[in-house]
Symmetry: C2
Subunit: 201 residues, 2 copies
Amino acid sequence: MSYGDAMTSRARGRGTERRAEIVRAALEVIAERGYRGASLAAVAERVGLTQQGLMHHFPTKEALLVAVLEERDRWDALPAGRLRLDLLASLVEYNAMRPGVIQTFSALLGESVTEGHPARGFFTERYGRVRESMAEVLRAEYGERLPGGLTPERAAPLVVAMLDGLQYQWLLDPGSVDMAEAFRDFLALLGGAPDGSPGGS
Amino acid sequence: MSYGDAMTSRARGRGTERRAEIVRAALEVIAERGYRGASLAAVAERVGLTQQGLMHHFPTKEALLVAVLEERDRWDALPAGRLRLDLLASLVEYNAMRPGVIQTFSALLGESVTEGHPARGFFTERYGRVRESMAEVLRAEYGERLPGGLTPERAAPLVVAMLDGLQYQWLLDPGSVDMAEAFRDFLALLGGAPDGSPGGS
DNA sequence: CGGAACCTACCGATCACCAGGGAGCGGGGG
DNA sequence: CCCCCGCTCCCTGGTGATCGGTAGGTTCCG
């Protein structure tokens, strides 16, 4: 009985593909149990491996987390450069259909504020960058002074905070918070609400 | 050698006081390690007990968490009824001086979105209530239509989200985010920024 | 034949929790 | 007044499960 029953025969691009599978599984497990609650065994089982088989690809649990975080970085590296605010709203709408990713990183963000959490540095640095690029987006959209009277640098953390905060409320009770709509409401506020009533429902 | 060396002799109000000590310690430990990462032994050590001594007062770990959450409920039950927005801003300022509490509940909120977390129900219900009472506050302040054109019900989740989101950014990097200032910026936005520049640096 | 991939077996640490006992105090009956 | 009883409080000791990680082997492919 060889262990490659249905695997070795198939064309496997090499270990790289396996690693990607593992990272995907880790993302799921972290979404369900958080990083501290996620066991290597649970991740391994999801890809049909033993825990030690997994550790052949990622020597430590933290290494796996790093891979997950890097995946995230790669994921939103694209829109970092050029992005418009209305696109951001659509992105929120899109994310609302993929609860897994949001939940993973909301859980990680929550954990990361605790002492000595391995993702803390990642998030700290990331939020710094995100605020900067958000300020750029705002500057491109509104110039040096937003309609509300704020500078891009002062408004940027607000936009970021709104995104995160809405995510938590939505994750806790998707039925009672329409993330995309709420975020558009906020954007209207930021952009100096053009008229009285922004929309239906 | 009795274990009550410095304890039994002192006037001890009875077990109630001990329970309060334990809850306080649990709050600290949860702030540092999250709920899943917090061990009963660590909490016990902080109040000078063994883990089993602690379990005399709280039969399970979850019971201890419930006590912590109830403490929170009691804490912000006061301003729930009547509150004004500018008071809310001051509250943010006050909270910024007590990072422990914020960190505890930010960590718990992050964990609570994971599957089967014992605090999930608490937060879901709590946020529902908070949104409602926030809508009332907004209605009292601005009436049925806020300056931005939103109804109180639609603006409420935005205010709550802003509070939470800012907390995370602030916890990650207190130096680069002024929570109270940022929140005031947001309130200015909500209240229809009166003029061009709300304030200095 | 060498290395990548994955295994079995094992390790010490830590976890929440259980079982049972002993110290101290307060109260009620002799 | 004293003594004993019962309750609260907290301890020692131990259990099974699970954790991340180690050691060393085996299979398969190029």
